[in-house]
């Protein structure tokens, strides 16, 4: 899933200054799961903005709130036409994809990002999310015992640990496990250390060019070259 953090209230308040009527729009998928922009966070932010405004400060706004199933899906965005009829901006608590999907769908309406989209990852314990995938377009988890060095090694290197690892931790951050020590231990447990002895050449950053596009085979006409 995509993981994000809500922006600081002060930054959000600065962003909305030029707009009077603000729709706070949540997202019912990843942002709900990572507690950054679901229905509950929309409601909290709504209250926080009202309280801040009541205490005085910049501008007088009227706020409304709503949460869609998924901001990154045009199908769900079509359904909020009535919610945006009378607003001057959408403050999106969707991820960066949601913000852009809204901007593409509603060309005349400014869309503001209410969260900082951070990474793709998983919940490890309650309230703690860890990054796991860098979407490099060239998955090599088979070679690395299911532990991604591109994501979890600060240098993203492919041929084993650097010399900076100490006590199994990373030189860049002593709280973070060294990905290559994890990979070594798991390859050893699986009896696959020969995978670490192999040479891995430099990555192909063209694996899928940026911005990436994937066309699902099931939606392509039969006979069309999908390569």
């Amino acid at each position: 899933m995509i993981v994000a953090e809500q922006k600081p209230l002060e930054e959000i308040r600065r962003m909305i200054v030029p707009y009077e009527r603000v729709l706070i729009l949540g997202c019912g998928t990843c942002m709900t799961v990572c507690n950054a922009g679901g229905e509950r966070e929309v409601s909290y932010l709504h209250s926080a903005l009202r309280v801040a405004q009541a205490k005085g400060g910049n501008g007088a706004h009227t706020f409304s709130e709503y949460t869609v199933r998924r901001q990154c899906d045009p199908e769900f965005l079509d359904m909020i036409g009535d919610k945006i009829a009378d607003v001057d901006t959408i403050l999106s608590l969707g991820c960066g994809i949601g913000v852009q999907a809204l901007a593409e769908r509603y060309t005349d309406l400014p869309v503001l990002p209410g969260v900082n989209t951070s990474f793709m990852g998983m919940a490890n314990e309650s309230g703690v999310w860890d990054e796991r995938c860098a979407a490099c377009g060239d998955c090599r988890l088979d070679d690395t015992a299911g532990i991604c060095p591109i994501t979890r090694c600060t240098k993203g290197i492919l041929n084993g640990p650097c010399a900076g690892t100490k006590n199994g931790k990373c030189e860049a951050n002593k709280d973070i496990d060294c990905a290559w020590i994890l990979i070594y231990r798991r390859l050893e447990r699986l009896g696959q250390l020969e995978k670490m002895r192999r040479y891995y050449p430099m990555r192909n950053f063209r694996a899928i060019p940026r911005p990436k596009r994937i066309t699902s085979k099931t939606t392509v006409d039969v006979g069309e070259d999908n390569g």
Partner: protein
């Protein structure tokens, strides 16, 4: 035929001494030139570091040009932290064209340990891939398979960490570096000769020259700081105690004594093929260390 004086010495199988210079943070190179002049005839080669600890400085390549200008033998330290494959190859071509023919291939410290923490880390290549990149260029091709008009020829080395607290993965990487063409290794700082002995028992099966890294410590505080903050350094408690035991102001003297003692033992017991002295900011005292270790005049350049 050897590609450099340093490569010639490598194949002579004589005991070798190298040291390193950290370029200045700024455009004033007068002190670096002074250090080069002080060291060039007393060692087999001088490494010039490449933004060591990810701290922005005068470039390694520029420092190597100065070593060359002053009549010394440079080793270009090249990390993959700040340059992608285009820039790495271009710098190698420049180095070769100016007679800088020795390269120490390093991945490079993390951006996070340095003074430009917000910079974009590159790491398009790692140390093993950089070694192979050089061998590819020597074959007349660049990394896209295009022909080079005039191919370079280098003497290449890498680093290894015999005192790593978890050695097995480091040894796998060491073997990859050997397979990629590394001819010499300058180790991370050695403080415990037992670990060097163990490492050499294993490493002697490979046809490469190993130079033990000797870090000159100036105080117990510096040793503890390095343990906590400098990647790849593990100073033993015994050495920290030794440094802590001297009166104020005598730390560097003690550090020189310790470094010289390690060097003498390494040479007397023939533990490895040479030493690489890292004086980290105290380059001026390297001749003193050499004298105390009875290694002044070891380099043929000094004779």
């Amino acid at each position: 035929m050897a590609n450099s004086l340093f490569e010639e010495k490598l194949s002579s199988k004589e005991f070798m001494v190298t040291t390193e210079i950290g370029p200045p943070k700024g455009a004033d190179v007068s002190e670096m030139i002074h250090h080069i002049d002080l060291l060039k005839d007393n060692v087999d080669a001088i490494n010039v570091t490449d933004h060591q600890s990810s701290v922005m400085r005068f470039p390694s390549l520029g420092g190597c040009l100065l070593v060359k200008e002053r009549g010394g033998e440079p080793i270009l330290q090249m990390t993959c932290r700040d340059r992608n494959r285009l820039a790495l190859q271009a710098d190698l071509l420049l180095a070769y064209s100016r007679g800088i023919n020795n390269v120490l291939c390093l991945t490079g410290d993390s951006i996070d340990v340095g003074d430009h923490k917000e910079a974009k880390p590159v790491f398009d290549a790692d140390s093993v891939q950089l070694l192979r990149m050089i061998r590819t260029m020597e074959s007349g091709k660049d990394m896209s398979g295009e022909d080079l008009k005039g191919s370079p020829k280098f003497c290449i080395g890498a680093s290894v960490h015999p005192e790593a607290d978890f050695i097995e993965p480091q040894l796998i990487k060491f073997e990859k570096k050997v397979a990629a063409g590394a001819q010499f290794f300058q180790t991370q700082g050695i403080f415990d000769l037992a670990s060097l002995r163990r490492f050499m028992q294993y490493a002697s099966q490979f046809d490469v020259r190993i130079l033990a890294g000797i870090i000159v410590l100036a105080s117990a505080r510096m040793a503890r700081y390095m343990n906590d903050n400098v990647p790849g350094i593990i100073v033993t408690e015994a050495i920290i105690d030794e440094l802590a035991g001297v009166e104020k102001g005598k730390g560097l003297e003690k550090g020189i004594e310790i470094a010289a003692r390690l060097m003498r033992t390494i040479k007397e017991e023939n533990l490895c093929h040479g030493v690489h002295i890292m004086a980290v900011g105290n380059e001026r005292i390297v001749p003193e260390i050499l004298e105390e270790a009875k290694m002044l005049g070891v380099s043929p350049r000094a004779r």
